[in-house]
Symmetry: D2
Subunit: 140 residues, 4 copies
């Protein structure tokens, strides 16, 4: 069972804005990429099929708190924690660090949905193969 | 004194992702653009100078709650409300609608800062010319 | 028959990078949006169906030549010209101006394709309803 | 002397669009990141100082030719080649491959410029420390 993940990436030029720092909306893309690397780390993906249906994870909520700015070429450590495993949804918490200093915190919640082309999106119980691999993070 | 603003834009192709809907991080760019149009609507900008200093508004927090997906070419009505006018910060609330239906809600808080190139960013009292024009939104 | 189009938009904060100017890749998004506004201007869309197939326009080529930088809040006039109407493809030229001064030039070519989910993308003859409305631009 | 570079990255969710493939403008961001990784590989950066001036590399031209679509989670090999080393500019060619198959080709040219805040951008001769490390690629 997995409940946390570490992902590292570098701030790219296109992530910055005229203030010379990483644009605040890009933190959400970094969270999402950490989430997807987390899912790949145990052999699954955010974009899968289950019983011939296309499974996706539309966002329910997303938030960020910004502590320090990130600059171009900064290497960022993103720590993902499974905050809540619901029957039909998953919530993550994120901590961003640069050189060991706290940069930002984030949260994201997503619903497990059938997303077949041409059909209305509908929430479903998380497929057992996935649910069995993830557990909520418990700090010691 | 202004406390609310309406801004309308269309979902562009580059706003969408493979799920066929607007990517969740783009809602934050839409909020930001609404904020900047709001500031322009009474003659100022998010990027100004005050007493020879470059003023910027780094984000403190940002959040979104997603109710319904937005699709390519959807016209979105974004309603901005000044939620809190602090001495050194501003908080906004946002409501996203499409065809009169609620699509998403958002919040953003920013600190008024001196952002001179090569100097550390530092928070300041909102310049009076700006503070005098904005008031907190009070629902009737 | 239409062969040219004018589209105006403003450089947003998220379009800029740490150099303080519009990021060079964003010019391609601006060209694309001009193309889509052009198609909407005579009642169609880049994303349509034809004889029960989903029609899309994957890019064949795209290029830009940068003359002057664009800054945050600059209003940009984008002039689109139909450069070539092939049997299965369309090529556009773009001119970017700010305050009447040339900022950039661009080109984009796209193939008309059936893009049904789960099928390989394949090029088709441009549907006659569309082809009949567009003609190549001829400078007087 | 270096003249070529290999850089690998994965297509992220936010790189895709509703057509289910990587958005054509994102190829330019991938080229740019390859360029910046190339510069870092021999100890410099696209964003440096030289004799107390801030050096930047505004784009002169950029182009791409699209052969096959890239999908979410595809691993992309990007091969960079120094195509021309001018006195004040550098041109690169790029080849994109996925699983050994050609996906796209690209080109980018940039001018070496002094980009001090508040001053007009002006082209300069490439600083010798940089020019001495790069040479044009010559296929055997």
């Amino acid at each position: 069972m997995v409940s946390e993940f570490h992902y590292r990436r570098r701030v790219e030029f296109a992530d910055t804005d005229l203030a010379g720092i990483m644009h605040f909306a890009r933190f959400f893309v970094f969270m999402e990429t950490a989430e997807h690397e987390f899912l790949r780390s145990f052999g699954t993906s955010v974009s899968t099929t289950f019983e011939d249906n296309k499974i996706g994870w539309p966002r329910l909520t997303a938030s960020a708190e910004y502590i320090r700015p990130l600059k171009f070429e900064d290497v960022v450590d993103i720590y993902l924690f499974v905050d809540r495993k619901g029957q039909k949804s998953l919530s993550y918490k994120f901590v961003f660090e640069h050189d060991g200093e706290l940069v930002a915190r984030g949260e994201m919640a997503s619903a497990c949905c059938i997303c077949n082309p041409g059909e209305a999106i509908r929430a479903i119980t998380i497929p057992p193969e996935l649910a069995e691999q993830i557990e909520e993070y418990r700090a010691e």
